[in-house]
């Protein structure tokens, strides 16, 4: 059985051997689409943590440059003369403004940098240059003592890195949005050493769902980020607090009241931030001057109360450890509120997540102290009220009670407080919702969605989700060509098309797998001999639920999308479809 094709046979055998190895690897080692998603999520988590560490180091560097101190922000300001307390935040504001001003030219004012917008109402594209500009500006506003959190920019950095990987790997919009969400979860986890809260922050606030299709990757990213932080830094429990216990069941009464108070206070806090923003804009001052003015106001407050600078972390630590007296705390609370209003209102880039924790801790401690004075049994330890207040305020401000409870637990590792914390968070949530529909994060999203008309969400048709240019072969392709194509692309089904790109069917790797050791067969068999013409296909106008039905009962990870005239348009991945359906189910922006 020898003929003139002897020369090509060794090549064919080699090709088929390679394909056999590839099939073996595919079966034994190659990750499924979901496993691959988890791996990418873990990478996003790692990069997010690295970004967060870099940002933290850069902020500390800027702080040292501006204040000449390597201590914490509040400690540095305590040591500075009055004029320096006044001028450093103002200078930081001016520099942040200048960075934003010149950065706009560099970044050519790309679309919004907000990662939440990119996830909720965008395509998952977080512009890199504009984000770097915004984060650099944040370095100055935060490093100079602005009353704003560095956690916001850390999350932004993590999200932009995730978006960058996703775009590099040409992820579909649902996958890209999920990867950016993973980056955001990694950012929160890195900032607060709280992996669970990181995942739930994004799931509850941004995605509005805890479906495993999205929660799984979020958890993978959070865990990866937290591990990276633990390995590369001296990470520890964020708030080292004494052990609190529920002294008496009677304490639940004051806790109920605390929940109602926090639920009332949080909407007012948010309103004050928004009104300050409006007020600053109405001054018609240039951006640089506006940020400088915001910094100057913080500096003026810091002359009297240096505790107003920074995100409030060190003051919260003092409250939780009982190192601050209540009379002084009233002054700090009022001034810090004003300072946060000034920083946020002037447009200083940064977050208000940690300032929210400060508000809750201060108000909770003051309330606990008042109850303790009037009725010691009702509030045995006012510091426990500070801790519960943090969770309740966060729950009311973010409208994410589950995340708030988890975050408080992770940040303090204090389980004994869980009962009042749960109750207070839920009460605060409902109270805040009754007073004000808007949450800490919903307003800008709602505004942006109204401006842009919800451009890409939800994707309602197969055509919106499909990927074009799937790997194809012709009907007359020989076995060798089929084998080569299977080797070059990681698919289990190759689409077979005719000369006019009309879809004919699929060739399955599963079918040819047992015959990879038969070179004679390879010379004989064409794609048309082994094509499955009855393979399900989708029209571009089919709804997502119809697409889901088509996937039921088959093992394929992708289905071809075929036009009415039979032309192959692209393919729809099951993973993309499930993510889009999860996104469709999520709650509307509140």
């Amino acid at each position: 059985m020898k003929d003139g094709r002897d020369l090509t046979q060794p090549l064919m055998r080699r090709l088929l051997r390679l394909l056999r190895v590839r099939v073996w690897i595919a079966e034994k080692l190659q990750p499924t689409e979901w496993q691959a998603t988890l791996l990418w999520a873990a990478l996003a988590g790692f990069l997010g943590a690295m970004g967060a560490l870099l940002f933290k180091a850069a902020t500390e560097g800027i702080h040292q440059l501006l204040t000449g101190s390597n201590q914490g922000v509040v400690e540095s300001f305590r040591m500075m003369p009055w004029w320096a307390r006044l001028l450093v935040p103002a200078a930081g504001g001016l520099m942040a403004g200048l960075v934003l001003l010149f950065g706009r030219r560099v970044a050519k004012m790309q679309s919004s940098t907000d990662y939440m917008e990119a996830i909720v109402i965008g395509s998952g594209h977080v512009p890199l240059r504009a984000s770097i500009v915004k984060s650099t500006a944040a370095l100055f506003s935060i490093g100079s003592g602005g009353s704003i959190g560095r956690e916001g920019p850390m999350v932004q950095m993590a999200a932009v890195l995730a978006s960058f990987i996703g775009r590099w790997r040409k992820f579909s919009p649902p996958q890209l949005r999920l990867l950016v969400a993973c980056g955001a979860a990694a950012g929160i986890a890195s900032a607060y050493y709280a992996p669970l809260a990181g995942a739930f922050f994004v799931a509850e606030i941004i995605l509005g769902t805890i479906a495993m299709e999205s929660l799984g990757p979020l958890v993978a990213a959070s865990v990866s980020a937290t591990l990276t932080i633990k390995i590369l830094s001296d990470a520890h429990t964020l708030y080292d607090v004494p052990r609190f216990t529920l002294g008496s069941p009677w304490e639940m009464g004051p806790y109920v009241l605390l929940g109602l108070i926090m639920g009332t206070l949080a909407p007012w806090f948010l309103r004050s931030l928004r009104q300050a923003e409006t007020l600053f804009v109405s001054t018609r001052l240039p951006l640089v001057a506006r940020l400088g003015l915001g910094g100057l106001m913080v500096g003026a407050l810091a002359i009297l109360v240096p505790e107003v600078v920074g995100n409030g972390y060190s003051v919260v630590l003092e409250i939780l450890n009982g190192r601050i007296i209540w009379m002084a705390l009233i002054l700090v609370l009022v001034c810090k509120w004003l300072a946060t209003v000034a920083s946020f209102g002037s447009g200083a880039p940064g977050g208000v997540f940690t300032p929210s924790l400060f508000m809750g801790a201060s108000a909770g401690y003051l309330f606990g102290t008042a109850v303790h004075t009037l009725w010691p049994t009702g509030a045995a330890d006012p510091r426990a009220f500070a801790l519960v207040g943090m969770g309740a305020f966060l729950s009311a401000a973010s409208r994410a009670p589950v995340m708030a409870v988890i975050m408080l637990f992770e940040m303090t590792l204090s389980y004994d407080i869980i009962l009042p914390l749960l109750l207070c968070s839920v009460l605060a949530y409902y109270t805040a919702k009754g007073i004000e529909e808007k949450s800490l994060y919903s307003e800008s999203l709602k505004r942006k969605a109204a401006e842009d008309g919800m451009p890409e969400l939800p994707a309602g048709r197969v055509g919106d989700l499909m990927k074009s240019d799937p790997p194809i072969i012709g009907v007359s392709a020989h076995f060798a060509e089929i084998a080569q194509t299977f080797l070059s692309v990681r698919v289990n089904n190759l689409y077979v098309v005719d000369g006019e790109r009309h879809f004919v069917g699929v060739v399955s790797l599963h079918d040819i797998k047992p015959y990879l050791g038969e070179p004679e067969l390879a010379e004989l068999v064409l794609a048309r001999d082994i094509v499955h013409e009855d393979f399900p296909r989708l029209g571009p106008d089919r709804s997502l639920s119809e697409a889901l039905e088509a996937f039921l009962g088959i093992t394929a990870e992708r289905l071809p999308v075929v036009a009415a005239d039979g032309r192959l348009l692209g393919s729809l991945a099951k993973g993309d479809l499930l993510l889009a359906l999860v996104e469709k189910r999520k709650k509307p922006v509140a």
Binding site: M1, K2, D3, G4, S476, H478, S508, D511, I512, P514, Y515, E518, E520, L521, E523, L524, V525, L526, R528, D529, I530, V531, H532, E533, D534
Partner: protein, 153 residues
């Protein structure tokens, strides 16, 4: 023995007198043996598809062996007709001396069975003894016996 292998052992038809002038003539002669077979629902369509496939690309797996085949709705199950030409058969331009022809009709949905059958034939025909015995068989019964033995090797 799986169905494709048992089909090789007991093909639907055997012809030991295939014409030698062309592949098409040989295919028509073998196809004629399948006409009337209850598994063939449309003999004309089957022939058309066999010829179309052979025209598209060579169906020879060796200088002396051809496997014309077609996946078609014209058959209800796998059908196999085996033939031997009376002399060197000019099956196509590159195969001027074919002696053995295995004509296969496969229902559209039977991709796996089709591949099993073709792979089974390919393995059997690699054996030189089987090929020589097929070429030397005097009667249809002898020829069928060689096929049956060949599948057991």
């Amino acid at each position: 023995m799986n169905p494709p292998t048992s089909l090789i052992a007991q093909p639907d038809a055997v012809a030991l007198d295939l014409p030698t002038e062309s592949g098409e003539a040989a295919m028509r002669a073998l196809h004629a043996r399948l006409v009337g077979n209850p598994a063939v629902t449309n003999a004309d369509v089957l022939l058309k598809e066999l010829l179309s496939r052979a025209e598209m690309s060579s169906v020879c797996i060796a200088p002396d062996v051809a496997l014309p085949h077609a996946r078609t709705p014209a058959v209800k199950r796998l059908v196999l007709a085996v033939g031997r030409s009376v002399g060197p058969l000019a099956f196509d331009a590159n195969h001027p001396a074919v002696r053995l022809v295995f004509l296969i009709g496969t229902p559209k949905q039977m991709v796996t069975e089709y591949l099993q059958l073709v792979a089974g034939l390919s393995r059997m025909l690699k054996n030189e003894t089987v090929r020589n015995d097929l070429l030397a068989a005097k009667t249809e019964a002898d020829f069928r016996a060689v096929l049956a033995r060949g599948t057991q090797r």
